[in-house]
Symmetry: C2
Subunit: 342 residues, 2 copies
DNA sequence: TTGTTTTACTAAAACGTTTTAGTATGTTTG
DNA sequence: CAAACATACTAAAACGTTTTAGTAAAACAA
């Protein structure tokens, strides 16, 4: 049966000293607390011998720190978030933190529910890909002095740490790249741009289109339509109506996949003429026919940045002391689909 | 600044009763402990009013239960595992459990490290996709009476709960399907079959080949080669040497992607003649050209089964009382790549 | 009336730590 | 030679629960 793990008490009893002393030694405060070298060594040796590991729960209760971080994304099974999570996980474990992942489906109610749940269960910090309507909840977290970093998108007018990519620039560059490759009628398919990341992507596209004196062709699909699986119909209709498009820029990975599905069904030949760029990369894009050009977010940089901000934040008494708003650059991975082909 | 959350003590003080009474009421033991209806109602109402949420850490310390489950897979950013995780997460939260995901990279050392870490941090249960050499560690967990369910693969001769698919059947059916479609020289590309799931897949293939009087053509890539990125070279060499193959069955998702990459580079036309089946589905397979036939694992069934086994296990005093070894059937999703095309 | 049972509640211990506020020595210092 | 300080350690409280082992009063039984 389950054997009881050794406690600090066992060590104290065995060595006939107090738990206080053992605790001091184990926490590296031997010097500061004037514990003699010999005793310190004895404690350390014995602790090692019996393979003592502190009970994290007891530690948490006493210190108020759980050593747990929450990493809340839209959908953990989405390739982009999964990859991010994987890297974040590695760094966190290294630093002695556990990570709880969860998916909010970009839904406010679910977001609020999860945040409340975890906040009451005393997690130490949050990384959050926020759904559109939780500005208030985030504000309250900050008021409660809980470390929060927003990821992928943020709220205008809210002073909160964030790590995002420069969506406007990435989108501008991608669009300009299509234009440089002789595409003239470039469509843009997006979900409703009511969040900062989508707003940035749209304005980057429009800026490039305008600067080059071209005409914009945009399709904005309401978010609920996408989740109801109606996205495909909208996109199909868009292409039916815009017969003269020679290129299309999909603002998310999911939209690209839906778009490719439609091309395959309706007009397989088209795919080899049309210029195509996808926001967010996918392992399969490099082996598709044609290979698909994509805007790739630097996953490693993002995760590393998140931790660089989070770790000092966890130590602070006042999380509003310094706010970091980090913007990293995405990379355009040029493949066949964005080049004029004969 | 951070306001202290309300505790059971606040309720007791406010209502001028003991914490014991409050605790009883809050735990639904009012009846059993003879707390009067009126007082019970008063407590409940007041708790609701001040939005009391118990401190989980204190509960954990007292009860020895953390309400945390560990879900350890090979790589959480792998589509198959990510999807599984997502479903498991949902069910777990529903039941009041949090889930910590982690990736062991199919490496024994990393597996052992993570299991030790979490075991000492008193998690309530494990779902583990085991790396090849941790039979012993798993055995020890069971001896310590910790709930464990193995996922995707298991160990021969170890009495441990497990949820796996019927790999042999799935693989046999897939191979037979190729044969039924007039393919005669069917190659099989796998990583080293030293784990039960790979063993099953290989033997299913061989069985179908033998029953039909065909010749097997197998490539077994050692695991370390794959992780070193040498997988591609092995596969390329295999196809160079086996010019007469008319079909190929890839035993994992990753191998399929590598294979497609090679076809694309070496002989793009081939891909439209060759019979191709992939073990494990991918969102992109249905929009590839040709669409790729795959063996798809029933993610929902698997996650549901895991929870069905886990929940009662968490209540038991003796986890070896009943062992569940569940085998679910995979589904062959037939697409263009496995049909003879002209 | 006395004893037993039931009802309605509570005091205090326990979980395993950390930390505050000590004590009892020995060593300097003026 | 007393006062101050440094050294080496410890008792006990605290974190917020759950649970055991009660108690006091009311109800019932003989």
């Amino acid at each position: 049966m389950k054997k009881k793990p050794v406690s600090i008490r066992n060590i104290a009893d065995e060595l006939k000293i107090s738990v206080t002393t053992v605790s001091f030694v184990l926490n590296g405060k031997a010097k500061e607390k004037h514990i003699s070298k010999e005793l310190t060594k004895k404690v350390l040796d014995y602790a090692k011998l019996i393979n003592y590991k502190p009970n994290q729960i007891a530690q948490s209760l006493r210190t108020g720190k759980s050593k747990i971080l929450v990493f809340m994304v839209e959908d953990i099974s989405n390739n982009f978030f999964a990859k991010l999570a994987r890297i974040f996980e590695d760094i966190a474990y290294d630093k002695g933190y556990k990570v709880i992942f969860c998916s909010n489906e970009n839904d406010d109610e679910k977001s609020n529910e999860l945040i409340t749940l975890f906040n009451f269960r005393q997690v130490d910090g949050f990384v959050i890909v926020p759904s559109p309507g939780i500005k208030n909840t985030i504000e309250n977290l900050i008021k409660d002095n809980i470390p929060v970093i927003l990821l992928d998108r943020f709220f205008d007018g809210l002073d909160c740490n964030s790590v995002v990519i420069d969506n406007e620039k990435a989108s501008f560059d991608a669009t300009q790249h299509l234009i440089n490759n002789q595409f003239k009628n470039i469509g843009y398919v997006t979900i409703a741009p009511d969040q900062t990341q989508m707003e940035g992507r749209l304005s980057g596209y429009l800026k490039a289109i305008n600067e080059n004196g071209l005409t914009p062709h945009t399709l904005e699909i309401p978010y609920d339509q996408v989740y109801k699986g109606k996205g495909k119909e909208h996109i199909r209709k868009f292409f039916d109506e815009k017969k003269d498009l020679d290129a299309v820029f999909f603002a998310t990975n999911y939209l690209t996949q839906t778009g490719l599905e439609i091309f395959k069904e309706n007009n397989p030949a088209l795919i080899n003429e049309l210029g195509i760029i996808s926001f967010d990369d996918n392992d399969m894009y490099k082996i598709y026919s044609p290979t698909i050009t994509s805007v790739s977010q630097p996953l490693n940089d993002i995760s590393t940045k998140l931790m660089e901000i989070m770790l000092p934040l966890l130590k602070k008494k006042d999380v509003t002391e310094t706010i970091h708003k980090v913007m990293v650059n995405a990379e355009l991975i040029v493949r066949e689909s964005s080049l004029k082909r004969e």
